[in-house]
Symmetry: C2
Subunit: 136 residues, 2 copies
């Protein structure tokens, strides 16, 4: 496994008559220590989000309700993932071009980020992204 | 404000025609760096969870969907909180007796914890909790 490549991560589920629980450890299941989280909700069905990469920031995406399609692209390979379970997240290392679309009306997306918000960390132009991936 | 007391924390909301987003920074909105998260879902309506305190572990509770009533008790004061928004969490410092109940059928509770799981960090007896709070 290439640790620098995007990948799905399954987390431990504890099923119980008192309710289900899934747990993820930072630095282990989520392979970084987060500086922030954000939650995306009430997204119109037609919308496309993302369409950028980060130079330094790692992200981990969990769709806790409903579903969303996440596309990850490392400049060499592009894959689509249907995210629809609280116990399976998508790890996106830095220099991964990410796009999310086909949000179901009830979708709830939780994202952990390794860095605080920094507009200079974003790459918003795909051609620039591709030219930068060749340097890494 | 007593920084060692349980309290509600409102997080920034960015409303947008492309969907809503709420963001929390660790060490700021969530006043610790988490070592793990867990997600509780599909809880029967009648169930009561929690009913324990932690000696060292800080927790932060967010109800992302549906609602749940969280009771926080620091040994001096006890308060009930209706959690039902992704942009308002309950911070529970160590030595807070916590109970959650009245889960709505669709409730989804996200919890951040400052420590990895450690069974020796739990206080499960209320009388013991009260006797220990007197030492702090």
């Amino acid at each position: 496994m290439n640790k620098h490549k995007y990948r799905l991560v399954e987390t431990l589920v504890i099923k119980d008559p008192r309710g289900n629980l899934t747990v993820g450890n930072f630095g282990v299941d989520v392979p970084f220590d987060p500086k922030r989280y954000f939650i995306i909700y009430q997204v119109p069905l037609v919308d496309i989000r993302g369409e950028h990469a980060h130079k330094e920031c790692h992200q981990f995406l969990l769709c806790l309700r409903g579903s969303v399609v996440a596309v990850a692209d490392d400049g060499v390979q592009r894959e689509e993932f249907q995210l629809n379970r609280p116990d399976c997240g998508l790890y996106m290392p830095p220099m991964t071009w990410g796009t999310q679309y086909k949000y179901s009306p009830d979708a709830l997306l939780l994202v952990f980020a390794s860095h605080l918000y920094d507009s200079s960390d974003y790459i918003r132009d795909y051609a620039e992204f591709i030219s930068l991936t060749n340097r890494f």
